[in-house]
Symmetry: C2
């Protein structure tokens, strides 16, 4: 029996098209069952345009409100019938095994915490972003979700959760866990990382010590642990550099006819290049440590990103990631390997 | 009378070649006088290989020791006759107007602080890295030099120093100053940035509010202020992404003969691309807030990077950046616009 995944149909910048097409593909190729959450009349009309959609395990669940990218905290709280809130209630009530949204990240995180609550033993759920490396592997960085002013104990829990996620979703046997700092030696870093280093090295994980910003993409580390402020800065800085590189490359390749012709001959290289660096392959960022499965993807998500996020949500549920997190945190705590907060 | 600049001849990965050639070019093209600091017999022998070098204003100053990239704090302290220490003493003693090194960043910063000391009114000197933007302008990020666990008052002083440096060296009239955070609203960020926001908005600078990692490279901000831990992570993450992009691009362009031919036709685009993103054009990172001029460039610096760093050191001295920092900090303090620590 495949997992049922609730999908916010109104999240992405081009919603609901990528959501509907992503749901169709996930149902066709991964056998997923999808609950499309959003304004029912609109979604039914859109779905009807796809031949064969009615034979796939896709249902519409009505939600009358939509949270926008610009909505502030008050607006988010007030929209009690938003597609994010309704979708998460489906998870809480056991009608869906997981939830996926490409909507407002802050709203999705806050609503997930509110509706689902944290797992026992988790002080702060953490958003884990996946990205590509030079070695064509995936690595994850957590927290990127604005858990600012973390304690060392928060970081310790992030390490345990990241380790479990990597094993379950990426099939790694013994992920290498690094602490994001500004020098390799254990004395390097700020007060927080120096304290966290001492906690991480006692854990029964493959802790490889401090890593630096330049290690994020070199494939030397699989899980990078950081305070949510630092993780978010690292993630958004990466986006900034990627945009700079794309813009400058485009400009220089267009400058002369010869270069344009050369670029035309190499065009498959550029599409391969784009694909290799494409975040849509990794299925979005799970909020780790909540009672349920909640995956947040980029607002610019396309059909492929949505399809992969649905697949990851199903794997997350079927891989019993949360049960493992709960069990391992309890086990570590009873062996006093994990700090109590 | 052009400024005399002391240059650590033994700093870069390929020292002393880039240093000697950079000094020759700076002397020829910018009229700089250079004191080459390092093992005298070796440097004299190397210099003698360049015809005409003896007619340029380049002198050798002997230093018997060299700090390596791997030297730890104790080793750095023990090497009292290192090229970094000797070069900085030339500045302290008034024999040189500024110092340039491509050596061990940590050693250069620590030795600069020790030998030159801080300017009155500066609690912590800050390393300011310059980088290119999409709009082909330069922006600076400070601190990237490991001033971890900064206070809001430290960040306030960084903002004032960054503003003055941008005006003096990049000729900007009214640089846009941003605070590196994780959201635009003034309530977004961690305890440190929220407190710093309140201080920065009272300063008579062009404070544009919080900026995010993605804004570093989009040309919307000229000076980005950050705690040294966060700034260092942002800088090194950028290096990581740049390496990833280069590696993947190279790999995909080599995959087929057609692509290789296309890349050959576009090769000038790739060299323009490299030049546009080349940090060597910006003349290294000054340590702002010390009594004197100390510029630290990347260990991979080539001739061009060294030449530009010598030019920037001279402009820094001639532009009276330090006098301005001292005067403006004192002025702000007397008007109670600046916080006292």
């Amino acid at each position: 029996m495949p997992s049922v995944i609730a999908l916010d149909a109104m999240g992405s910048d081009k919603a609901p098209k990528p959501e509907i097409e992503g749901a169709l593909q996930a149902a066709r190729h991964h056998g997923a069952s999808v609950l499309l959450v959003g304004p029912e009349p609109q979604l039914r009309a859109e779905l009807a345009r796809y031949p064969g959609a009615s034979r796939l395990p896709i249902e519409v669940v009505h939600a009358s409100e939509v949270i926008t990218m610009d909505d502030k905290v008050e607006a988010i709280r007030a929209k009690r019938d938003s597609s994010i809130r309704v979708g998460l209630r489906l998870v809480r009530d056991g009608r869906a095994a997981g939830f996926v949204t490409a909507g407002n990240t802050g709203a999705a995180m806050a609503t997930t915490r509110m509706v689902l609550g944290s797992l026992p033993g988790v002080d702060r759920p953490a958003l884990a972003a996946a990205f590509p490396t030079v070695l064509n592997t995936a690595a994850i960085l957590l927290d990127v979700g604005a858990n600012v002013d973390c304690t060392a104990i928060n970081l310790e829990q992030f390490a345990v959760m990241g380790d479990i996620y990597c094993r379950a979703i990426f099939g790694m046997k013994r992920p290498r866990i690094g602490l994001l700092s500004i020098g390799e030696e254990e004395t390097k870093g700020n007060e927080l990382t120096r304290e966290a280093f001492q906690l991480l090295k006692r854990l029964p994980i493959n802790f490889i010590g401090n890593v630096e910003g330049r290690d994020l993409y070199n494939g030397h580390v699989d899980v990078i642990v950081a305070d949510g402020f630092v993780g978010n800065v690292a993630l958004k800085t990466s986006e900034g550099v990627a945009r700079l590189v794309r813009a400058v490359l485009k400009e220089t390749l267009k400058a002369t006819i010869t270069r344009q012709f050369g670029a035309l001959l190499s065009r498959n290289a550029f599409s391969d290049f784009k694909k290799r660096l494409d975040h849509t392959e990794y299925g979005g960022a799970p909020l780790l440590g909540v009672k349920g499965v909640s995956i947040i993807t980029h607002g610019s998500s396309n059909t492929n990103a949505i399809k992969n996020a649905i697949r990851v949500a199903a794997e997350f549920a079927e891989g019993k990631v949360n049960e493992t997190i709960e069990r391992e945190l309890a086990g570590l705590r009873s062996h006093a390997a994990l700090s109590t907060s």
